[in-house]
Amino acid sequence: MLKQIEGSRAVAEAVALCRPEVICAYPISPQTHIVEGLGEMVKSGELKHCEFINVESEFAAMSVAIGASAAGARAYTATASQGLLFMAEAVYNASGLGLPIVMTVANRAVGAPINIWNDHSDALSQRDSGWIQLFAETNQDALDLHILAFKLAEELSLPIMVCMDGFILTHAFERIDMPSQEQVDAYLPPYAPRQVLDPQAPVSIGAMVGPEAFMEVRYLAHAKQMQALDLIPQLTTEFKTQFGRDSGGLTRTYCAEDADTLIVAMGSVLGTIKDVVDEMRTDGHKIGVLGITTFRPFPLAAVQAALRDAKRVVVLEKNLAIGLGGIVSTNVRMALAALSIGMYTVVAGLGGRAITKKSLHALFRKAEKDDIELLSFLDLDQNAVDKQLERERNTRRCGPIAENLLRDAGIVAARNY
């Protein structure tokens, strides 16, 4: 059924159609509307046989999800930013124990400085935690990926983060196609756990493992993610059969066949990039796009196949691996290891900095001429940076950086030191 609703509401309704049995909720922007929506559905009776638990922190949210999942319940939670970091220990436990929890991460920058706006720093900080990570390009994608995620998670007995851009997607009213309960029921069977706490057949979930078997347990976590590389395309095909839409998959290309320059990105910025690519194609530029939907497991073979005929690759990413460059680029680099293709990293959109068509046009046209640095920062205000660096050279007690930059920008009232 076509609807014009907020992205968060679309995700809440899709999660409800998956018949979760335990939802642990702790508010944090920009995720809050999702669990609020689910809370309303539980209270009104629209979502039945589901326990909605208000917890005291994100750490508790994931801990309750772990307990619920171990007891055989389909468990869901959602978070963002500092909330994800605060639950980090439990995040690793959920995957280490092999519990198929599904969690939405409404992607937001990580402080300090505190910032509620979008980038991918939060989810990418947990890239090696053992969770599968799927990135939504649109709100339709976001709701579809949740349905696919429950099925994938339970098949592999692994937890999954469905990542969607905070505010840009979560707070946008857009047209979406909401499936029916019958369609979702036909796609997603009731949860049949591979392990469960059952007094009739006692097991320990979370046994201590020493050097004799720890490597093997960890290797199995990796092996299961490798299985996901085969399972995700299979479940994506089944999804299309049931719902008639291409959602999910490992990667997606756009205008890539004959492209000399390929832009690699994740999430909602792909839409803006595609609009720019259409305009550049009209002007005769051989440029295309590779969108990464599945970031963990990282689809090395699919990425390599998509990029192998390009002359250059530009990875546009919403994170900064401080002291190195870009996290996504480092992964893409592994896919290109055997190929001699030039690769550029462009860090963009940190903390909600708008990524505009105008800036992308200029960037891509320069990249086509190999006229950009290996690592660059889209729309960075170099003057603001230089001013602070100069201040640090000249003054020992030069004050807090964040406040200095705000004052230079005229946002905090001027004050003399």
Binding site: L2, Q4, E6, I116, W117, T138, D165, F167, I168, L169, H171, A172, F173, E174, R175, S268, V269, L270, G271, T272, K274, D275, G352, A354, I355, T356, K357, K358
Partner: protein, 194 residues
């Protein structure tokens, strides 16, 4: 693609207005995207929301940089330096006020503009009268429909019925219709003088 930027203050329903407009466009079978400016909204603080309307899927996810239309819910914001930023020449401007563009001191700034695209409507008065409190957001959409023709009044009324019920719905429908008629009459009058 038609792009609208709405300026107001926290509590005036700026974000809701953009959402309602997108629902109305969706009701006409078109694609629409509404989103807030993502600030930390506080009552009384300046708030901006956007709406895009198109006949094909909207993939773009940048803020609206060059609006085709501005809806200004609170004329005290007119002195903000950037309120007209990026507005396309000859774009539509609809201001919630009882005063004229001349009285607002905008005559000089807009002297080269297409005057049939510059309109005011007493949306706060209309909302007080029909809804019982100052909520100019929905009535302004009626004024926008009249001046731009981008959206039908009927589609706005359907969107109101989907969002509100009972007295609130009735009041908003009366207010949006009154605002539409006021701006339409105003345009007609200007035309007859031309």
């Amino acid at each position: 693609m038609f792009q609208i930027r709405i300026h107001g203050r926290g509590g005036q329903g700026v974000v809701t207005a953009a959402e309602m407009l997108s629902i109305a466009a969706f009701g006409e079978g078109r694609y629409a995207q509404a989103f807030p400016s993502f600030g930390s909204e506080r009552t009384g603080a300046p708030v901006v929301a956007f709406c895009r309307i198109d006949d094909k899927e909207i993939r773009l996810h940048e803020p609206v940089m060059e609006p085709d239309a501005l809806i200004i819910q609170d004329p005290t914001l007119l002195h903000q330096a950037d309120i007209f930023a990026g507005l396309k020449h000859d774009g539509y401007i609809l201001i919630n006020t009882n005063r004229s563009f001349d009285e607002l001191g905008l005559a000089d700034f807009l002297k080269d503009w297409r005057h049939d695209r510059l309109r005011t409507v007493s949306a706060t008065d209309l909302s007080r009268k029909h809804i019982g409190r100052p909520m100019p957001n929905v009535p302004l959409l009626g004024g926008f429909a009249a001046v731009s023709g981008i959206i039908k009044l009927e589609s706005l009324i359907n969107a109101i019925k989907g969002k509100f019920s009972g007295k609130v719905a009735e009041g908003n429908i009366a207010a949006v219709t009154a605002a539409f008629n006021s701006v339409a009459a105003n345009i007609e009058e200007a035309r007859s003088h031309a």
